[in-house]
């Protein structure tokens, strides 16, 4: 049985501006407080909150997502983990106000946040390996992942349909090889 706050997940999937406005109004202040109290700026807070919502959206789009805990505890956990990662990268140890007592942080919010984190890491790995491909592969794959059919992609690039398909398979083979060869691939529980 999904939590009533599932409506925020649905709003992300549908880009429902009215409900998203409500989401920001209700929850962004707490995240802003957490970030500002821990060596961050308003821009950092905005980035972290947006990033967290995009992570949740990605998880919902790719695997479906049933929220089984209150949204505030869950979004707080996702943002907190992201902010701790930012601080660790900046080598800033001045964390003083990451207090959780006002949230009911059940195991569900914890697990869902961790799943989002793993999903993020996978997407980051894919993006970074995609950028290592040659320009022609990037262009072909980019077009093939858009709204266009493979026939249209072949037409745009001046290829025959057969050649475009073969080329795409070659590019995908390179991409999957790069992803699987990465040292963090095995830690992502794929």
């Amino acid at each position: 049985m999904p939590h009533p706050d599932q409506k925020y997940i649905v709003a992300l999937l549908n880009n429902d501006k009215a409900v998203l406005d409500e989401l920001y109004r209700k929850y962004s202040g707490k995240i802003k407080w957490m970030v500002l109290k821990n060596n961050g700026s308003e821009d950092d807070a905005a980035d972290i909150f947006q990033d967290a919502l995009m992570s949740i959206y990605h998880k919902a789009r790719l695997n479906g997502f049933e929220l089984t805990c209150p949204f505030d505890a869950f979004i707080y956990m996702v943002c907190k983990k992201k902010w701790l990662n930012v601080l660790a990268k900046r080598k800033n140890h001045g964390v003083t106000n990451l207090e959780d007592h006002e949230y009911s942080l059940g195991e569900d919010s914890f697990k869902l946040a961790e799943e989002c984190h793993i999903q993020d890491e996978r997407l980051e790995l894919m993006k970074s390996k995609f950028s290592e491909l040659g320009e022609s592969c990037q262009e072909l794959l980019n077009l093939s992942w858009g709204d266009k059919s493979m026939e249209e992609v072949a037409g745009i690039l001046g290829f025959t349909y057969g050649y475009a398909r073969k080329k795409k398979s070659e590019c995908m083979a390179k991409l999957t090889k790069l992803i699987q060869a990465s040292p963090i691939f095995k830690t992502l529980k794929w």
Binding site: L36, L62, S169
Partner: protein
């Protein structure tokens, strides 16, 4: 992944297989675990990248960015309970700056005098506190065996949810009483909660484990004693640090550095 395999995946996903090819492929997918895993990974890469490049992704980002400007730049600052607070501002007034400089200078002088008078009794604790804040506030994920619970415990620790972290590590120990990672992390979790007695007990248990290629138990015992710095803690810590150096045990370099300063 082999190109031929990828061509098959593509043909399948684009519904370009004949009935016979389709039947054969689906049978192979059902019986060949490796192929089925590769197919799942391939689909995930395709779907993920398509999502990242999609128009919906761009539109949602734009909506969130606009809301971010509206609420994060202009909106209220709200603590957990709901009460509003004044946002933290940079100190730009020169009078404030002078006042704070004077206070800082006095503070530094007091601190210097304090160190001159009490250096010998405080330095071990100071060194240990520094080591703790530089190395143990965030733990790295491990590649150990009892993967899920240890990893979950580490994540909880890193989020400073120490009670939850302890439950994960304790569960691992219930299943495997001599799991060295769980003993180490449980000790560190108690240490984070400043429960030195329990931390020492787990580090002693860890140090007693044999057949470990590298055992950090002694090092953490000495470290805990330095952090606590009560009665004969420092002399006990020194003894253990010497033992670590003599045995070239884990942490011997840090042990030598500390021992030279104690």
């Amino acid at each position: 992944m082999d190109i031929k395999v990828i061509e098959k995946f593509e043909a399948y996903l684009r519904h370009e297989m004949s009935e016979e090819e389709l039947r054969q492929f689906e049978e192979e997918l059902a019986s060949n675990t490796k192929l089925s895993q590769q197919f799942q990974q391939y689909q995930e890469i395709e779907q993920s990248m398509a999502m990242l490049f999609s128009q919906e992704e761009r539109q949602l980002k734009e909506s969130l960015s606009n809301l971010g400007k509206k609420y994060m730049k202009e909106g209220p600052l709200e603590k957990g309970g709901g009460e509003e607070e004044t946002p933290i501002r940079n100190i730009e007034n020169p009078n404030y700056f002078r006042l704070f400089s004077a206070i800082a200078a006095i503070f530094v002088m007091i601190l210097a005098a304090y160190f001159l008078l009490f250096k010998s009794s405080q330095s071990a604790q100071e060194m240990a506190e520094r080591y703790y804040s530089e190395n143990l506030t965030v733990l790295s994920q491990t590649m150990g065996g009892n993967e899920d619970k240890v990893q979950l415990g580490i994540v909880a620790y890193n989020m400073k949810d120490y009670d939850l972290a302890r439950t994960y590590f304790e569960e691992v120990l219930q299943e495997e009483s001599q799991n060295w990672e769980a003993l180490k992390f449980l000790g560190l979790t108690y240490l984070a909660q400043r429960n030195y007695e329990r931390a020492l007990a787990y580090f002693e248990e860890l140090a007693a484990l044999e057949n470990l290629y590298s055992n950090p138990g002694l090092f953490y015992q000495a470290f805990t004693l330095m952090l606590r710095s009560e009665s004969d803690d420092i002399s006990r810590a020194k003894e253990i640090l010497r033992q670590i150096i003599d045995e070239n045990a884990e942490g011997s370099r840090q042990a030598k550095e500390w021992l030279d300063k104690l």
